[in-house]
Amino acid sequence: MRPEEGREVVEEVVRRVQADVLASRRTAPAGALESLINDAVFHETERLRRERAGNRQTQAERAFWRRAQQRLQHATEVELVALLGDIVRWHAGEIVGRFDPRVYRFTIEIVPWILTVGLNTAAPRRMLADLPRLPRVRHNLVVRGEVDLVRRMDDLGTILLVPTHSSHLDSVTVGWSAADIGLPPLTYGAGLNLFTNPVLSFFMHNLGSYRVDRKKRHELYKRVLKEYATVTLERGYDNLFFPGGTRSRNGAIERRLKLGLLGTGLTAYVHNLRRGKPKPNIYVVPCTVNYHLVLEAETLIEDYLKEEGKSRYIIEDDEASSWRKWLKFIHNLWQLDSRIFITYGRPLDPFGNPVDDQGRSLDPRGRAVDPRSFVLRDGEPVHDAQRDAEYTKDLGRAVVETYRRDNTALGTNVLATAALGLLRARTGQSDVYRLLRAVRPAETFRLREEVFPVVEAVLDGVRRRASRGELRLAGELDRQDAATVTADALRHFGTYHQEPVAVRQGPDLVVRNKNLVLYYHGRLSGYGLDDEATAAAARL
C-alpha cells in the first residue's frame, strides 16, 4: 500500500490491539498486560541475542528492545499501555508493505518476458525454430476452475485467497495466475528471508507483500499480524495467505489448517457491517496448486522423516534459498514442457457457505441466505470470539474439502503411488518408517509384469474418483495408458533431483530414492488409493 495509507493502517492496528488487550483485561488475571509485554520483550531479546548479524537493522532492534525492557521495570498502568502501543507500532511498522501500482504493472508485464527469454536460452534451437513467436510461460501454467466466479467476486467484495502450499514457488505461480486472470494485486505475508536480497525485496514490496518474521513467536506479534491482515481486508485489499501455515512436508494436501489468519475474514466482515461499508462481503477462495516436481521436495521429506520426530517449522537452508536451484528447476520445467496446475475453487463466505455468481451465500439446500444473520444479536452485528472461532472451523472444513476435490492427480503422483504399493507388497511393511528401513537402496521391478499393472490399477482408481468429482485429473491422464504415464513420469523423475526418484533400466524400473517416492505419492494419500495399489501389487 502507499506510504501514507501504510501509516494510517499502522495506527489503526495499534488502536485495535490496545483496545482488545485492555478489554480482555477485565476477565484476565491480574498482571496480564505486564505479562504480555514481558513475553514480547523476553522473546525478542533472546532472538536478538542469538542473531549473529550486526547490521543496522539488528542494532536498531536491539536498542528498541533494550529501551522497552528498561521501561517495563517499575512501569505504572498508564506507562504499560503506552509501552504496549509502542511495541505494536514497532511490529506493525516492520510488517507494513509498500506498494506502487506503477512498479506492480511494470513487474507483472516484464517478469514473464524475462522468464520466457531466460528459459529459452536453455533451448536456443527450439527458440530459433519457433521464431518469430516466442513460447510463452503462460503455456506451462494451467489455470482452471471457478475463474470467472472468482473474478466476479472481486467486483462484489474483497477476496481472501487461500492456496495450498508445497513450495516457495507457490507465491510466484499463484501471484502470477491471479494477475493473469485479472485480479488486482494481492496483499500477502512473505517470510523475511525473501526480503534479504535488495532487488527481490523491491519487487516483493511492490507486488503487494508484507514482511512476516516467523522467528517471532510471541503472542503480541501474532496479534499484530492478524490485526494487520484484518485491517487490510477491511480497506478492500485482496489478501493471500497459506492456511496450512508452512509447506507440506510430505507432499500431502492440507488437512488441518491454521485458523488464526483464516478467521480474519470473519472479523473484517463484522467490522464492515458495523461501519455500514457498501460492499462488506469477504469471499474466501481456496486454490489448489499441483506440480509434477516440487523444488524443495528432498529437504521437505527429509524433514518429515527426521527420527527425532520434531520437524523444523521454518526451513531456510533448503533448495529455495539457492538461485541456481531455482533456475535449474525452472529450466527443467521448460525442457520437460511440464505444467503447473492452479485450480481456483468455488468461493466461500466467511462461514464456509458456497456463494453463487451474484455473490450470495447459499445454505446446504442451495437457497440464498443472508450472511449477516450469522452474526446478528438483537438485530445488530456483533463480534463473539467463541462463536466466530466455531464458524472459522466450519470454514476450515469447507476449504479442506475444496482442496481435496480440486487436487489434480499427475503422472508423477500416480507412478509414486504405484511404486509405494509395490514396495509395500515386497517388504510386507505398511508402517512408513519400517518400510523405508526395509527398502534397499535400489529396488528393481519388471516394468511390464509388475509396474504397469499397478500403475493401471492406480489410474483406474483416480479416474473413478475423478468421475465422482472427488478429485481432478491432468487432462492427459484420462486417456493415457500405463506405459505412457510411466514413461512421462520417469522423464520427470530422472531429472532435477540430486538422486533420481526412479529410472528405467532396460525392462526394469529401479526405485532409487524411496523418500521422494513417499513424497510424490503424498499428493494422492487419503483417497484410498494406497490400499488399492498395495492390493494390486499383492495380486501379482
Binding site: D363, V369, D384, E390
Partner: protein, 328 residues
C-alpha cells in the same frame, strides 16, 4: 444473556408442553405449536401419569396452529419432536430456521438406516448453524412433579448454552453444558435403544445376570462407536450417557421398553410395529447404530443382534443365546 424475543417450542405431546410451561414459568414469552397428533400423544402422556400434558398450560403460553406461526420472530427455538419426525419438520420449516436463530432439538435417537444424528439432519436441511441437543436422564412426569432434574445441553456454541440456561434453569432443574454434541446424541440414541433391549430381556424373562451382561456389552459397543465418531468417553459416562441409560432401562412404561417386552413375550415384531401407540425411536436408533458401526468399522455384535431381533424380526431367544454363548 436473556432474550427478550419470544421463545418458540415446536413439538407435540408432553415434552413440548413441558418446555413451553418451563419457559413461561421463567417469565419469558413463549409460543407453542402442539402438532397435529396432539390427542394421541395426550392419551399416551396421561397413561404415563403426565396428567398436565398440553391441557393446563399457563396462560402466558401462546398456542399456535402451525409451526411457522410459533416460530415468528423467536431467537431461541426448541424442536421437541422425535428423531423420526425431525427431517419432515426441518424440511417444512427450511430457511425459516435461519442463521440468526438458536435451534435446540430434544430428539433422542437417530434418523434410521442413514445413521444421521439429529444435528446432522438439521445441518443438512436448514441454514441455522448454532444448534444444540438437549438430553439427559429426565422423565416428564418427574419434572412436572417437581423432582430435581438434570438436563444436558450439547452445543458447540456458548451462546446456545447460555440461552437455554436462561430459558429453563431453575432451582430444581440444572442444565449441564458440554461442547460434545456427537456424544450427547449418540449416548442418547444408545439409551433409547437399550431401553428396548431391557424390555426384551423382561419379555424373555432373562435372569438379572444375563440382562446385565447384554446391556453392558451393548453399552460398551455404543461407547466405542461414539469414540470412533469423535465423541468423548466422559459424555457417555455422565448424565447424558450412563444416567439416561439407567432411566431408560428401568422405566417399564417407556415406549421402547414396552415394545421390547412385547417382542420378548412372543408378539411378532411386525404386529407390534403396526400399533401406533407402540411407536418407538428405539428401532431407528438401532438401525442407525448399526450403520455407524459399519461405517466406522467398529465391531458391534450385540447391537447388531438387538437390531436383528427388534427390527428384522429374528427369533429373540435363539439369537440372544448364540450371542451370549459367543462371548463377543
Amino acid at each position: 444473556m436473556t432474550t427478550s424475543a419470544p421463545i418458540a417450542v415446536l413439538g407435540p405431546g408432553s415434552l413440548g408442553a413441558l418446555l413451553a410451561r418451563l419457559v413461561a414459568l421463567g417469565g419469558q414469552p413463549v409460543a407453542w405449536w402442539g402438532g397435529e397428533h396432539a390427542p394421541l400423544l395426550e392419551r399416551r402422556a396421561r397413561r404415563r401419569g403426565e396428567r398436565d400434558a398440553g391441557t393446563t398450560l399457563p396462560p402466558e403460553v401462546r398456542r399456535c396452529a402451525t409451526p411457522e406461526e410459533a416460530l415468528g420472530s423467536a431467537t431461541l427455538v426448541f424442536l421437541a419432536v422425535p428423531a423420526g419426525s425431525l427431517l419432515d419438520l426441518a424440511r417444512r420449516l427450511g430457511e425459516r430456521l435461519s442463521p440468526d436463530r438458536l435451534v435446540v432439538h430434544t430428539a433422542k435417537g437417530l434418523e434410521g438406516p442413514s445413521g444421521r444424528r439429529p444435528t446432522e439432519i438439521l445441518a443438512a436441511e436448514a441454514p441455522a448453524r448454532r444448534l444444540g441437543a438437549l438430553a439427559g436422564p429426565y422423565l416428564v412426569a418427574e419434572v412436572l412433579a417437581g423432582y430435581a432434574t438434570t438436563l444436558v445441553l450439547g452445543s458447540r456454541f456458548d451462546e446456545v448454552h447460555q440461552a437455554v440456561h436462561d430459558a429453563l434453569a431453575t432451582e430444581r432443574i440444572r442444565i449441564e453444558r458440554t461442547h460434545d454434541v456427537a456424544g450427547v446424541e449418540l449416548a442418547g440414541a444408545a439409551a433409547v435403544a437399550l431401553g428396548a433391549a431391557a424390555g426384551l430381556c423382561s419379555g424373555l424373562r432373562l435372569g438379572s445376570g444375563a440382562r446385565a451382561v447384554l446391556l453392558a456389552r451393548a453399552r460398551q459397543e455404543a461407547l466405542h462407536l461414539g469414540l470412533a465418531s469423535g465423541a468423548s468417553a466422559e459424555t457417555f459416562g455422565g448424565p447424558a450417557g450412563l444416567a439416561d441409560l439407567l432411566v431408560a432401562t428401568n422405566d417399564p412404561e417407556g415406549l421402547g421398553y414396552r415394545f421390547g417386552r412385547r417382542v420378548g413375550a412372543g408378539e411378532p415384531v411386525a404386529s407390534v410395529r403396526e400399533d401406533a401407540e407402540a411407536r418407538t425411536e428405539a428401532l431407528r436408533a438401532l438401525e442407525g447404530l448399526r450403520t455407524i458401526a459399519r461405517r466406522t468399522a467398529v465391531p458391534a455384535p450385540t447391537l447388531e443382534a438387538l437390531r436383528d431381533i427388534l427390527v428384522a424380526g429374528a427369533p429373540p431367544a435363539p439369537t440372544l443365546d448364540a450371542l451370549l454363548r459367543s462371548g463377543s
